[in-house]
C-alpha cells in the first residue's frame, strides 16, 4: 500500500482530491488517465487523508443490481425466519467514499443507479416486498482510461471535479514511483507527512466557513461556463465550491485569482463543448495564428429559446471579463495526446461472433443475469432460489389443503405462482458504425447521405435497441464525430459540423472504427456492422497522425496496412458493407477490393439515397 504523500507526479489529481477532502459536497473526483499511471493507487490512497473511520467502499465492476441497491438478505431471512435487510454498496459508502476503478466500463444500469443515489443523497429500496430509504451521501472517486470509452455525461454532471487528462510520461517521476513500489522509502517519513497533511485538511475544513467569494467572482465563473458551452447550471455551484475549498486550503479568507483559475480548470474546462470565441490581439494579428485544434469542432449555442441579441451581448461581455483566464487554461486543456505505438496492431483473436440475425433487447435466455421476475416456466430459465423463497411461506398451508383433499405431496409444493424467471439484460441491438470518407469533392454529398441514413436508422433504433456511431476521415486521421448513441438529438447536433477535403486516411478510419467496436463490445453490444461510404482509395498511412513527415508512403505499404486491419476486423466477427459512391465510370475498383478484404458486401450506389444505404445495411 502506497501512501498519498508518497505518490509522485499527478499533482493536479492530488490537489483535486484534497479539495474534495475539504468539501465533500463537491460530489467527487474523476481521474482519467492511461494504464499504469498510478491513478488507482492514488485513488485508494485518498483514504489516508480523510478523517479516521471514513468509510471507503470499492465498487466491483460486475456488481449486480441487488448488491448495489440492497434488499432482502435471502439466506439470513430463511435461516432466522425473520426478514433480514441487507444494505447495498451505495449505502455502505454513506458519509464516505465510493471508489470505482474503470468508471467507463461500468454497466449502464449501474451508472443509472449511482446517478439516482447521488441526486437524492439516498437509496430508495422498493424491492422484494421491502420499502426503505437508506441514506447514501457519498463522495464518488472514479478513475478510467479514456481508451476504454467515455463516462456517461449524466454521471459526470453530478461529480464536481474532473481532472484534465494528462498521460504520465515524466521519466524521473516514473522512476521514483518504481522505487516506491520496491519499498525503498522510510515508513516514518511517510507517517509524519500524512499526519501533517491531515492537519492541513482539518484546518481547511474549519476555515471553509470563513471564506467569502464576491459577486463579481461568481459572475466570472458563470460567464466562463457559458462561454465554454457547458450544459446545465449545476456546474456553477461546483465551481464556486472548488474555489472556496482551495482558498480554505491556503488558510485565506477571500477567494483569489488562483482559486478561480483552478476552479475553471478542474470544474469547467473538462465539460467544455466549444471553444470560447475571442478577438485576436494586435500582436497575434501580425503573427500567424496557430490552427485551431480539430478535437473540438465549434458548435452553435443550444439556447434556441434565448433571443439572439441577448446572447450576442453576453458574448461581448465575456470577452471583456474573462479572456486571459480562459486563454491560459485553454492552452493547457487542449494538449492533444496521441496514443503511442499506433502501428502495433495486434492481430485479434480468431473469434467469430454470429452476425446477421437481430436479437431482442430484453430476453430471458442470454446476457447478464439481472433480476428475477414472475413468469412462466416455459419462458426462460427458472431462478431457483427466488422460486423457493416465494414458495416457502406457503408450504404448511398448501400441504394442509392437499391433505384435506387426500392428495399426497412431496417435500415441496410449488405452484406456478411461485415460479420466478431469471431476467437477463442483453443489449443485443446492432451497432452500426458509419465511416464516411470526407476527403475530396464528393465529401459533402457522402456526408449528406450518411447523415440521412444515420437519422433514419435512429428513427427505429428504439425497436431493435440499435445504436449508431459516425466516423469521418480526411486529412491525417479519422475522427469520431458521434460515439455510439441512440439519440436522435445528439446525432443531429454532432453531425452539423463537417470539414471536408484533404487526403484519405483509410487505415486510420478502420482502426478508429475497430476501437469503437471493441469499446462497444465491453458494454455488451455483440453485433457490429461497419458501413463504409468511400471510394476505397486510401492514400494516407497511420503514421501520418503522429509524424507529418510520414504522410508520403509507398502504395504497397498503404495497402498492407489496410489489409492487416481489414483481416483483423473480419476475424473479430464484425460485418461490413462498402457503399461506393464513385461517380466516375472508370473506377479503379478500390472499393470492391476493400469489401473483399473485409469479407463484407459491396454496393455501387453512385446517387445513393439515405434510404438505399439503410436498406443495404439491413439487408
Amino acid at each position: 500500500m502506497i501512501a498519498f504523500t508518497d505518490i509522485v507526479g499527478m499533482d493536479l489529481a492530488k490537489q483535486a482530491l484534497m479539495l474534495l477532502a475539504v468539501d465533500p459536497s463537491l460530489g467527487g473526483v474523476v481521474i482519467p488517465s492511461t494504464v499504469g499511471s498510478g491513478k488507482s493507487t492514488l485513488a485508494r490512497a485518498f483514504a489516508d487523508i480523510l478523517p479516521e473511520g471514513t468509510p471507503f467502499v470499492e465498487l466491483p465492476l460486475n456488481v449486480t443490481e441487488d448488491r448495489l441497491i440492497g434488499g432482502v438478505d435471502l439466506e439470513a431471512t430463511l435461516a432466522s425466519g425473520q426478514r433480514v435487510v441487507q444494505h447495498g454498496v451505495l449505502s455502505k459508502a454513506h458519509k464516505g467514499v465510493l471508489y470505482v476503478d474503470s468508471l467507463s466500463l461500468l454497466d449502464s444500469s449501474a451508472v443509472s443507479h449511482i446517478m439516482d443515489a447521488m441526486s437524492r443523497g439516498a437509496v430508495i429500496v422498493e424491492r422484494e416486498g421491502l420499502s426503505e430509504v437508506h441514506p447514501a451521501d457519498f463522495m464518488l472517486v472514479g478513475t478510467y482510461d479514456p481508451s476504454d470509452g467515455e463516462v456517461r455525461m449524466g454521471l459526470l454532471d453530478r461529480i464536481g471535479i474532473i481532472v484534465p487528462f494528462t498521460p504520465v510520461n515524466d521519466y524521473r517521476a516514473r522512476k521514483q514511483i518504481v522505487s516506491l513500489v520496491m519499498g525503498t522509502r522510510n515508513e516514518e517519513d511517510t507517517q509524519d507527512e500524512l499526519r501533517m497533511l491531515r492537519g492541513i485538511i482539518g484546518a481547511a475544513r474549519e476555515q471553509l466557513h470563513h471564506v467569502s467569494i464576491t459577486n463579481e467572482q461568481i459572475k466570472g465563473l458563470i460567464q466562463t461556463a457559458i462561454s465554454l458551452g457547458v450544459e446545465g447550471n449545476r456546474v456553477d455551484i461546483f465551481a464556486i465550491r472548488a474555489a472556496l475549498a482551495n482558498a480554505a486550503l491556503g488558510q485565506r479568507t477571500e477567494v483569489d485569482d488562483e482559486d478561480l483559475k483552478l476552479a475553471v480548470k478542474l470544474v469547467l474546462v473538462p465539460r467544455a463543448t466549444r471553444m470560447p470565441e475571442r478577438e485576436p490581439s494586435e500582436e497575434e494579428m501580425q503573427q500567424e495564428e496557430p490552427p485551431p485544434p480539430e478535437e473540438q469542432p465549434e458548435q452553435e449555442g443550444e439556447d434556441e429559446n434565448a433571443p439572439p441579441d441577448e446572447t450576442d451581448s453576453d458574448a461581448d461581455e465575456e470577452q471583456e471579463e474573462t479572456p486571459d483566464m480562459i486563454e491560459e487554461l485553454m492552452m493547457d486543456a487542449i494538449e492533444t495526446d496521441l496514443p503511442e505505438n499506433i502501428l502495433n496492431i495486434s492481430l485479434a483473436s480468431k473469434k467469430k461472433a454470429k452476425s446477421g440475425s437481430r436479437g431482442e433487447a430484453l430476453n430471458n435466455k442470454r446476457g447478464r443475469f439481472v433480476r428475477s421476475q414472475p413468469g412462466e416456466i416455459k419462458s426462460g430459465k427458472v431462478a431457483l432460489i427466488p422460486t423457493l423463497i416465494s414458495a416457502a411461506p406457503w408450504q404448511a398451508a398448501r400441504k394442509a389443503e392437499k391433505a384435506k383433499k387426500g392428495i399426497k405431496t412431496g417435500a415441496l409444493v410449488i405452484s406456478t405462482d411461485d415460479v420466478k424467471i431469471k431476467r437477463f439484460r442483453d443489449k443485443s441491438g446492432t451497432l452500426f458504425i458509419f465511416m464516411v470518407d470526407a476527403s475530396g469533392s464528393m465529401a459533402l454529398n457522402r456526408m449528406r447521405q450518411a447523415k440521412g441514413a444515420v437519422a433514419s436508422l435512429l428513427q427505429n433504433a428504439y425497436v431493435h435497441r440499435d445504436q449508431v456511431s459516425l466516423i469521418s476521415f480526411r486529412g491525417k486521421q479519422a475522427q469520431v464525430l458521434l460515439p455510439p448513441s441512440q439519440s436522435v438529438d445528439r446525432a443531429k447536433r454532432e453531425l452539423d459540423v463537417l470539414p471536408t477535403g484533404g487526403g484519405t486516411p483509410l487505415a486510420s478510419a478502420l482502426l478508429t472504427g475497430w476501437e469503437t467496436a471493441k469499446q462497444a463490445r465491453t458494454k455488451g453490444i455483440t453485433q457490429i456492422m461497419f458501413v463504409m461510404i468511400t471510394d476505397g482509395r486510401g492514400n494516407i498511412p497511420l503514421a501520418a497522425a503522429v509524424d507529418p513527415a510520414a504522410a508520403k508512403a509507398p502504395k504497397e505499404e498503404l495497402e498492407k496496412e489496410v489489409e492487416a486491419l481489414a483481416l483483423s476486423i473480419q476475424s473479430d466477427g464484425i460485418a461490413s458493407i462498402v457503399v461506393d459512391t464513385q461517380m466516375n465510370y472508370l473506377s479503379r475498383g478500390e472499393a470492391p477490393k476493400l469489401a473483399q478484404k473485409l469479407g463484407g458486401r459491396y454496393f455501387y450506389l453512385p446517387n445513393a439515397k439515405a434510404e438505399q444505404i439503410v436498406e443495404a445495411a439491413l439487408s
Binding site: 416486498g129 455551484i237 421476475q373
Partner: protein, 346 residues
C-alpha cells in the same frame, strides 16, 4: 426537506405544466425533457410542499374518498352496509410518489405480505407504490432509463386507472389514478413513442444562459444549503400564496367555459400540424381550461390556447430527424395561420 418550489428560478414551462396538472389531473401528466443539471428533479420534488390537501378515509392505504370507500367495501359479500357518517376521514397533502429506477414489480404493484404469511399464516395484500400514488402524482426520474417491463405495467395501469393483482387465490383490484410525471435527458436515450404519447404535456428544459439569473440561482442555493430551516421560514409566505392560487383555480375550473369557435380553431390547428387522433385536441382543451382558471378567467380564448399549445403538442408532431425547424416554432407558425395573423417573416 426539499428546496422550495417558489424559489426555483426560471424553467417556467415545467413549473406551469405541473401546476396545470394539479388544477386538473385529467390533463394527463407531464414529461420534462432536457439538459442535465437544470433542476428537473428539484422542481418535481419541491411540488409536494405547494399541493393542496385532500380528504381521504382515515388511514386508507389507497387514499380513497368516502364515496369510493363505501362503494368498494360494501360490494364485498357479507360486509355490513356502510354509511358515510360511520367513516372517519382525515386531510392529507396530495401524495407524490417517487419511483426509483431499481424498483421491482412486486413493490410497484403490491404483493402478498410475506412476513404476515411467514409469521401468522395469513394471506394479506401488501399494497405497492401504485396504491400510494392513487389520487396523487407518480414521479419517474430518468424515465427513459426505466425497465421496459415496468413501463408496460405503468402504461396499463395509467390507462385503466385500476391496478389488478392476482396471486395465491387472492385477487385484488384497487383504484390507481395518478398524474404521471417523467423527466429525463434525451441524450441518454429516446423515449418509446407509446410512452411519449401517454403524457399530456411535454415541457422542455434548457440550460439557463442569462448570467443574472444564474447568479440568482447560485445565491439562493447557497443560502439554502447554509441553513435550510431559516430559508424555508423566509419563503413560507410565497409558498402559501401559490398554494392558495392553485386552490382558487381548482374551485373556478367547473365554471370555466369555452366557445365553439375556439374549439373549431383548436381542431384546425391540430389538423394543420398533422396530429393523429383526438388526444391532442382533448389535451389542449383541458389545459386551456385549467390555464384560464389559473388566470382567474371564466372564458377560454385563443390567447389562453396560444400560451399552452406548445406544451400540449410538441411531442405529438411527427418526428423528422433532419428537420431544422424547432417543433415549437412550427406550432407557433400554424397557430398564427389559424388565427389569420400575418406570418412573421422568418
Amino acid at each position: 426537506m426539499a428546496f422550495p418550489f417558489t424559489s426555483i428560478v426560471g424553467q417556467e414551462e415545467m413549473k406551469l405544466s405541473l401546476i396545470l396538472n394539479i388544477i386538473d389531473p385529467r390533463i394527463g401528466g407531464v414529461l420534462v425533457m432536457g439538459h442535465r443539471g437544470t433542476g428537473k428533479s428539484t422542481t418535481v420534488r419541491a411540488l409536494a410542499e405547494v399541493l393542496p390537501l385532500i380528504d381521504r378515509v382515515k388511514g386508507d392505504i389507497y387514499n380513497r374518498t368516502v364515496e369510493q370507500y363505501i362503494e368498494m367495501e360494501s360490494g364485498v359479500k357479507g360486509a355490513p352496509v356502510l354509511k358515510a357518517s360511520d367513516v372517519k376521514t382525515e386531510k392529507i397533502p396530495v401524495p407524490v410518489v417517487d419511483l426509483p429506477l431499481g424498483a421491482t414489480e412486486d413493490r410497484v404493484c403490491g404483493t402478498i405480505d410475506i412476513e404476515k404469511a411467514l409469521t401468522s399464516g395469513v394471506k394479506a395484500f401488501e399494497p405497492g407504490l401504485l396504491a400510494q400514488a392513487n389520487r396523487g402524482f407518480l414521479y419517474i426520474d430518468e424515465v427513459n432509463l426505466l425497465d421496459d417491463h415496468l413501463v408496460d405495467v405503468l402504461l396499463d395501469v395509467a390507462a385503466s386507472g385500476k391496478n389488478v393483482v392476482e396471486r395465491e387465490g387472492i385477487s385484488i383490484r384497487h383504484p390507481a389514478r395518478f398524474v404521471l410525471v417523467g423527466s429525463g435527458n434525451p441524450e441518454e436515450g429516446e423515449l418509446r413513442p407509446q410512452l411519449l404519447d401517454r403524457f399530456g404535456l411535454h415541457a422542455r428544459i434548457i440550460t439557463i444562459n442569462d448570467v443574472a439569473k444564474r447568479v440568482e440561482i447560485v445565491k439562493l442555493r447557497r443560502e439554502y444549503d447554509e441553513n435550510p430551516e431559516a430559508f424555508l421560514k423566509k419563503v413560507v409566505r410565497q409558498q402559501q400564496k401559490l398554494q392558495k392560487e392553485i386552490v382558487a383555480a381548482q374551485k373556478l375550473l367547473p365554471k370555466v367555459s369555452m366557445d365553439d369557435s375556439v374549439l373549431t380553431d383548436i381542431a384546425r390547428l391540430c389538423m394543420a400540424l398533422g396530429i393523429d387522433g383526438h388526444r391532442g385536441e382533448l389535451t389542449i382543451t383541458r389545459t386551456a381550461h385549467a390555464f384560464a382558471a389559473l388566470q382567474g378567467d371564466t372564458n377560454v380564448t385563443m390567447e389562453h390556447v396560444r400560451k399552452i399549445a406548445g406544451l400540449c403538442l410538441r411531442h405529438r408532431l411527427r418526428k423528422d430527424p433532419l428537420e431544422t425547424v424547432d417543433a415549437g416554432e412550427k406550432i407557433d407558425r400554424e397557430l398564427a395561420k389559424v388565427l389569420g395573423e400575418a406570418e412573421v417573416a422568418a
